[in-house]
Amino acid sequence: MAVQNFQHTGIGFRREFAEEFLSNGFFRPAFIEVAPENWIGIGGYWKRIFDKIAATYPVYLHGLSLSLGGPDKLDKKFLKEVKTFMKEYNIMLYSEHLSFAKCDNAHLYDLLPVPFRMDSAKHIAQRIQSVQDMLGTRIALEIVSYYTPVAAEMSESDFINEVLRLADCELLLDVNNIYVNAFNHNYNANGFIDTLPLEKVKYIHMAGHELVEPDLIIDTHGEPIIDEVYGLFEKTIPKLSGQVPVLLERDFNIPELQVLGAEMEILEQICNNKFRRLHDVA
């Protein structure tokens, strides 16, 4: 069986499949993504594995703990470590979340929703600028899934647009998150995507989710991508101004690598088809 070489599609690298991944004869992703929190300052066995991975594939960083939307001060020591790590492994892309994960000097280890308010938008934009100044590069900001609004004073779309405008950062479009949010908050996912500054999309995430109540989806990254999310992805790609990398995220309930490879294959085919058309039109 020939090894599938992906041009657009990458995968979230997990320790659960690390060894099999290194020797797998099924596919070679276009890149891998890791959370810096899981790899910075790690030595021994996992450093050895990571060094092999980083020597084989381009690495993207997707942060979890920076808490861009949080009230606490930015962790500049951590940012310095990120910068060093990016340099050491020649990492070109760092993304983070439009959420908060730290409050009152306590890390919370999950992504909490921020209030859609103008002061919050300005606060976050200023912090993103600080991060970009420190790292010397633009970061990509991910719109997170959320399950309840929090003291909102403006629409979600206006809020996101304001943050991106003020921060002058890139957008990480997690298509599954948009689907989840549209379902949970009863709006049209396609229409919502049309309100975003799509020229800023630098990177796309795709993942599965879980329906836990008739009116609530949790963004678990523990299931395969559903057809509706593939459909939304397919409709979104032609709206972008250029080709962007696409990531398959799978953090829980991880299946065999071949199963993940099959999901990546679907994403790759959509990219090949839609990106080629985009190119033809241009």
Partner: protein, 247 residues
């Protein structure tokens, strides 16, 4: 600071709810949805700690474990951005705030230290082996020692027996060396003598062989020739474990 006081308070209340489950009123928050956040955060903490302390988790009654984890998350401000490091914060929290657990489970202190050490040493950044000062003069070649080690002093032989089988009759002083195998990179535990533990500490502190011999004669009240024999035996033993190597 761009963030208004009111917005900050909203976020603080949201985070506080997630940690404690206490009642809050935040405009727009759906009361039937916010518990999902508390559950998700609690699950991350609990699963991380169970993964870090499988033996301690197995020893403690499940209700006591659940209470300890909940108290930890609600009362302790986790400072590590790397979630695996909260294991040590949890260990230290229990020592200070859950003394009754250590009275009920005398081996718990050792178990938590043992399990944390294994994880910490397994993940610890790589270090360069240090030369054993004066080894070329004494041995005829320079020896390098791996410093990816921890020396533990335990009160129970948890490295030899199951924790649940140990009683006060087993209480004593047990010196255990945890070392990260330079080839496999996995952590191994070896019972060592007080003398070997002392030697390791001296070498890590970059004391020369000459100084070590001189000090050990006084501290251990042994003849110089006996000390020399023990030193050679020590180097041979740890060379076999790939822990000391000659250049």
């Amino acid at each position: 600071m761009m963030l208004h006081k009111d917005t900050r308070l909203v976020q603080q209340n949201f985070a506080r709810y997630c940690r404690t489950g206490g009642k809050i009123q935040i405009p727009g928050v759906l009361p039937e949805r916010i518990p999902y956040y508390r559950k998700m955060l609690s699950t991350v903490i609990d699963e991380t700690l169970i993964s870090a302390f499988p033996l301690a988790n197995g020893l403690i009654d499940s209700k006591e474990w659940a209470d300890a984890v909940e108290n930890f998350f609600s009362l302790h401000d986790c400072s590590a951005y790397q979630v695996w490091k909260i294991a040590d914060e949890f260990r230290q929290f229990l020592i200070v705030d859950k003394k009754e657990l250590f009275q009920k489970y005398p081996v718990l202190h050792d178990l938590l230290l043992f399990e944390w050490t294994e994880m910490d040493l397994f993940n610890t950044p790589d270090t360069v082996p240090v030369p054993i000062k004066g080894s070329s003069k004494f041995f005829g070649c320079t020896y390098l020692m791996n410093t990816e080690i921890r020396i533990l002093q335990l009160s129970f032989p948890i490295h030899l027996q199951k924790a649940a089988s140990l009683s006060d009759a087993d209480r004593g002083i047990y010196i255990v060396l945890a070392l990260r195998n330079p080839e496999s990179k996995f952590v191994e535990f070896i019972a060592i003598s007080v003398f070997h533990a002392w030697l390791l500490e001296q070498i890590i502190q970059k004391q020369s062989i000459h100084t070590i011999l001189h000090k050990s004669e006084n501290i251990f009240n042994q003849k110089s020739t006996e000390i020399r024999i023990q030193l050679i035996s020590f180097v041979n033993h740890f060379t076999n474990l790939l822990f000391i190597k000659s250049t």
